[in-house]
Amino acid sequence: MARVKLSEYRAKSLLVDDYAGVSLRLPSLDDDIAKLDENTPYVVKVDQGIKKRGKQGLLRLNVTKQAARVAVEELASKGFMRFIAEPMFAHEESEERYVSFERTREGIAVQYSEKGGVNVEENPTSVVGLTIDTVPLPKAFVQIVMDTMNREHLSFVEINPLIVRDDECVLLDAAVLADSAGEYQASWGEDDVVEARQPTETEAAIAKLNQNSPAAFSFRILNEDGALWLLLSGGGASITIADEAMNQGKSSLVGNYGEYSGGPSTEETYLYTLDVLRQVLTSKAPKKAIIIAGGVANFTDVKKTFGGIIQALDEKLSDLQAQGIRVYVRRGGPNEVEGLAMMESYLKKNNLFGSVHGSDIVLTDVINEALEHVDA
């Protein structure tokens, strides 16, 4: 579906033979620390795909095996879970180079600078666009990167700093974006994907649902105490509808962005809705609205998916009623008439009715109706 960030530990394990780094994870910290060498000084870093860790104080230098636990706990106290320890590598700052490889339609695009390191962005003119044939790096190294990118479905590899001594290349830091659609052919897995921000419980639950279904589900919290909660369908329509809140200057009221698409079953839609509703019910906004909306579907069955949504609403009905939540609906597509009629009668019967529309109103009008309720 998209490009995902791999941990530095996994990135380097893929790119470097006999990689000497050690992954340190909180749940298995004792076992992980046991893998460190007594006599080697290490650098310990947060490994969650965050840039400029040195400037943010997210790394510790010259850490011994004995001191590793303290170093990790200090970093963990800033809200991180995943770390990496690598042997210290003595070098001059002037040796640091920058290189990145990106998959493009025309082939692998290379960016290269002799002045790499943490300040590369301050020397943008030193970065030049090259090709894999013209980049002044050892051929064997470039070949390894190409082979790894193709074998492991990597889309973007950035190494900064890179130290080159004769034919040997040392990767001091590496950031890799991998193609999630290629995971089934690669040796990395879901566990190697990092996010700078820890997913919330609901986000994690929906990510899991997405992984286990041929249909697509996404959910991202924007504001835990939001008033507008979006249960949208379609990759494009969902952005368009969310845009309308922005257009009205009310994006701060939006609790989440998310969508379901690709013809999910009734059961899957039920599970998705249930996760979303749990999040809606914990919001402290005084007046809340749920927006169930989408474009005119090509193939997602309105009646089937609405069946799942109603089942979930029904399970949380007393809580939804107690909080005075209103539901606003706009949808079209196969079995539109039946699906909308079913939804309208359910919402009216249970005092949740905000509005129900088919494709006869503009896609985004439903946002305005909901805003009138929550922003009155």
Partner: protein, 590 residues
Amino acid sequence: MRNISSIRQNPGKILAFGNYTAGYQTILDFDYLCGKDAPSIAGIVTVSAKFQKFFWGNREVLIPCFPTAEKAKASLGSIEWMLNINSGRRAFQSTVSFFDAFPDALGGHIFAEDVPEIHALELYKRYQKQNKTLIGPAGVGLLVPGALKLGVVGGVDWRQLEKNHLMTAGNVAVLSASGGMINEIITIVATTGHAISFALCFGGDRFPSTTPRDAFLAAEADEATSHIVYYGELGGQDEYELVELITSGKVTKPVVAYIAGVIGEGFDQPVQFGHAKALANNKSETASAKRRALAEAGVKVANSMTDFSKAIKDIPQNEKPESVDATSLVGRKASLFSSTISKESSEGYEFVGAPLQQWADEGDIALQITSALLGKRPASQKTTEFIRTVFLLSVDHGPQVSGALNTIVTARAGKGLVDSLAAGLLTIGPRFGGAVSDAAREWFEGVTEAKTPEEHVESYAKAKKYIGGIGHKKYRLGLPDPRTARLAGFVDELPSHRYYDYAKAIEAITSSKKGSLILNVDGTIAALMLDILEQEEKLTEDELRQLIDADFFNALFVIPRTVGFVAHYLDQKRLDEGLFRLPNDDVHLA
């Protein structure tokens, strides 16, 4: 990309990959409502069936299914388009197999959303760069009103097609990154009194084969198109290519656009939205920046859907499209099963293509039965001759054999014809009478898997299994079975006979070990029937395998032996010896 007007003039045929009943049905409905003579989907590549049933109007048609594109090629001839509904993991391989089998095809559409980038780029290089029109991966395909519906674009319910006038060409081209939004926009175009010239969804993947740029150039080149409606999203640089096309005069037709994703600018970190490409890595990739660039190039850029709808409404209207008559699609009901064998017709009952009176005039029951077994008239007289001979030689082999004995015992218990015959028929199985099917499978697998006769014998010996077509209780080397000798007469009439040769080679090995291990009558029937079907009826290996799996060869025993069982039944009724009970000394009471 293929010129839209040439598609309009000559839409071509589609080979579909994967199972998607509702999606395919709507393509047939589209074709039907456009007034075509036949469905554009000529075949489906799937392992699950031989045919799939669809409505053509309110009648039903069978669309043939094939396990591979190669097999489809053999029976369909030329195909212009691929519609690939396979998963992201299988899309690459099946697409390659399509273009390998149909190198002259115009292009296709890949529906899957999770095709790896490496695969997408390889497909782009192999096909789009070689003048094919490959739409996707991802998205919902291409719709040219009145001509071609390649994908779920426009909906999977004919009511959607009818409501949006998708059978008649208009003047508005709808181009979209999003599959859901293209249908939303088609609906807006239709409800504001316009009709579309074509709709193309290039999809929201990072590397679609047909790019927005290609789509715009196609709209510019299409004489039916007067206006372009475009839906894009945050992420990627495509819109700057469009700006270049417009400012350099390569696209001159007026454009109305909406670029979604300003919501993405409210976050401190870039957010990945639903489509793979929908992530703004830098300022230029944000929705706002792209809106500005397009507006500066003269595009009418809407800042909300309400404005977008208004801008579409303001597009000058051509004549209102005619409505099509879709009443015949209302309330149609799928049949429960299909039959190609017989039907009632104005001439009475028709059986395998001819009225029963005609069969009676021809007077050849062997020909009628042979036609019944093949599902059509045999191409060669030799086939009928052979089956007639098999029937004449298989009618009965004495009252002692299990099937006849059970018929006799049942008849003597006072049961009627049907019960007694059933008792005999139900005895036929792996040890009695079923050997023709087993032998056919043995010879077929040996020949098609290119096993040497030695290997074949060895594998059976190792598994401690008998070879069904080998061995007889009475006959042996030096004492040949007169029935096999009679059947062997057919060998010389065949141009070639690889199954019979194979069976004889096996016999040469087994009979040299033990004189009774000769090719028996079942093995001979099986081998010669395979050779005749292949040589005279021109059946392919796949068709032979289907017959073997369907137990066709057992019919060569069951039909004549039914006559034998009925004979025994009637005989017992004439003799009327009373209830049969085994004498005590014939049973060992352990």
